[in-house]
């Protein structure tokens, strides 16, 4: 066994990867199924090694505002929570986006609405990808499907957040948060020095030091509508840049596929098992797994859909990403949804049954309902 291969939960991998990224601060509040992130950080005591600050806040509202305060000083800061807690954070996330601050937010989704269940769900897709809080803004949303990606997306999330000065989100769920599998953690990187922060983030609120004569102000407030519109136009230009450069997805078996499954995060790997089973029966099914949920891989899905007879959108929710899949393919091919709710995770057999019911067993000339 290689020494650097570890076995750990997705939540633990997030915590370890944060330390190794050189993250400056984590602020969070316990909530199932993600409390291991905070627990692991407190047990690792990174303030003794890298100098990373870890603080259990009094609420998710305080957590996200601590992230806001830390990010405004140019530091790489993050928080994590699960669905009800992320709802509480929406105000702060909107402020982060409006103030053009880099930060990382992790949502290990559980079933809602309301207090709901502690079991896995993907029902915060709309909230994560369409804004979530008030105002016209987007987060860069990364959807991990393995513990390895939980670890890798910490650095990717931070790097993209700093590149575009916008908050990014890891949208995971209870499956990938709670499961253990093999992971190779990234190498330990040093935290950025004050000097590097001043260079990378000349906007940062660091005190008017090192000869800076003009004060830095981080604010989302602008009462002059003409200026506020300009600010919004700038945000939108950034979002267009991100859409152009940062779309990520995984395509499996799409070259010869007669049917396409589109799924993200943990359910995508469960779909892979269904697809492998279908292929054993001679039914050619392919998979597109959006890795960035925003920006969404519209073009890749449109391309992959050209030669298929149908698309099954599998989500652990009532059908949310399906709207983006339909936007991608217009009416060129039938698109169906399969999902479970309330914390129930579909198993591979159910997915295969849905494929059969909606497409495979349907006569080719059957009238669409």
């Amino acid at each position: 066994m290689k020494d650097n291969v570890k076995l750990m939960k997705g939540n633990e991998a997030i915590a370890m990867a944060a330390i190794r990224y050189g993250c400056d601060g984590y602020f969070g509040y316990p909530i199932t199924p993600q409390s291991e992130v905070l627990e692991t950080l407190e047990a690792q005591m990174p303030w003794e090694t890298t100098g990373m600050v870890v603080l259990q806040a009094e609420s998710e509202v305080a957590s996200i505002n601590m992230v806001y305060g830390g990010a405004a000083t140019g530091k790489a800061v993050m928080t994590s929570s699960s669905s009800p807690g992320v709802s509480l954070m929406q105000e702060g996330i909107s402020y982060l986006a409006a103030s053009e601050l880099p930060a990382l937010i992790v949502n290990v989704m559980r079933g809602g609405p309301g207090l709901g269940t502690i079991h896995p769900s993907q029902s915060d897709y709309f909230q994560a990808t369409k804004g979530g809080g008030h105002g016209d803004y987007h987060l860069i949303v990364l959807a991990p499907s393995t513990v390895q990606e939980m670890a890798d997306f910490v650095s990717l999330g931070f790097d993209l957040a700093f590149k575009y000065r916008t908050p990014s989100m890891i949208l995971a769920d209870g499956v990938v948060g709670q499961m253990m599998e093999k992971v190779v953690l990234p190498e330990q990187r040093p935290r950025r020095t004050e000097e590097e922060i001043r260079r990378q983030c000349p906007w940062a609120v660091t005190g008017k030091d090192h000869g800076r004569t003009k004060r830095n102000i981080v604010t989302s407030l602008e009462l002059d509508s003409a200026v506020m519109e300009k600010n919004n136009e700038r945000f939108q230009r950034t979002y267009r840049e991100i859409e152009k450069n940062e779309v990520r997805y995984e395509a499996r078996y799409t070259e010869d596929a007669d049917y396409l499954v589109v799924a993200f995060g943990s359910i995508a790997r469960i779909c892979m098992k269904a697809i492998e089973d279908a292929r054993k029966e001679g039914v050619k099914v392919g998979l597109i797994r959006p890795i960035t949920l925003w920006p969404f891989p519209y073009d890749a899905i449109r391309e992959a859909a050209k030669n298929v007879k149908g698309i099954l959108c599998v989500e652990i929710n009532a059908g949310q990403m399906i709207e983006d899949v339909r936007l991608a393919v217009s009416d060129s091919v039938p698109v169906r949804h399969f999902g479970r709710m309330g914390g129930i995770v579909p198993n591979p057999n159910e997915i295969l049954d849905a494929l059969r019911r909606d497409f495979i067993d349907k006569p080719a000339n059957a009238k669409e309902d």
Binding site: L7, H119, Q178, M180, K182, I270, K273, N349
Partner: protein, 179 residues
């Protein structure tokens, strides 16, 4: 090689840690592995179960509907999972507290008197290791040596003095499986 395992019982019986030790053993043996627990209040008294998949190829779904192997520690779990063992699969269970024994004839059913042995050995905390021994006997996915190495990884340092007792329990469990 691929073994899809469900371990199920009451919270507190060591279900999740049995799975964890098995998972670490697989890691030690350079195999692919996933460990997917039921989580939440189950940990504190309700039913708990964990799906462990060990394979020499990458594993897609960590969540399954049918299993090659089931290790069952209580009646509720037997009722729930007996039907989910694949034909030709293995069901290991402790008859202690079981009122309705498994009835399937297309799978190998292995009763292991683990509770009895635990009391005999005077080591209540080794209960799950006896069942792990029975599992390793029926499904030699990983050698016992790898399990002992896995124990070192799974247990915090302050519990390492318990490893010899755990190993003894594992070997006892192996013996309890009648040829």
């Amino acid at each position: 090689m691929k073994d899809e395992i469900i371990i199920a019982g009451f919270g507190g019986q060591g279900v999740l840690s049995m799975g964890k030790i098995l998972a670490y053993a697989a890691l030690e043996n350079d195999l692919e592995v996933t460990w997917m627990p039921s989580y939440g209040p189950e940990q504190r008294g309700g039913t708990a179960n964990v799906t462990v998949i060990i394979s020499d190829e990458p594993i897609s779904s960590p969540i399954l509907d049918t299993y090659d192997t089931a290790v069952i520690l209580n009646q509720q779990s037997l009722d729930k999972f007996e039907s989910k063992v694949k034909p030709g699969g293995v069901l290991i269970y402790d008859p202690y507290g079981i009122h309705h024994a498994p009835t399937r004839t297309d799978i190998t059913i292995v009763p292991v008197d683990a509770m009895e042995a635990t009391i005999e050995m005077g080591q209540a905390k080794s209960y799950n290791m006896i069942l792990l021994g029975a599992l390793l006997k029926m499904r030699p996915d990983v050698p016992v040596e790898a399990v002992v190495r896995g124990l070192k990884k799974a247990l915090p340092e302050r519990h390492h003095h318990l490893i010899p007792a755990n190993e003894a329990a594992i070997r006892k469990g192996m013996e309890l499986v009648k040829e």
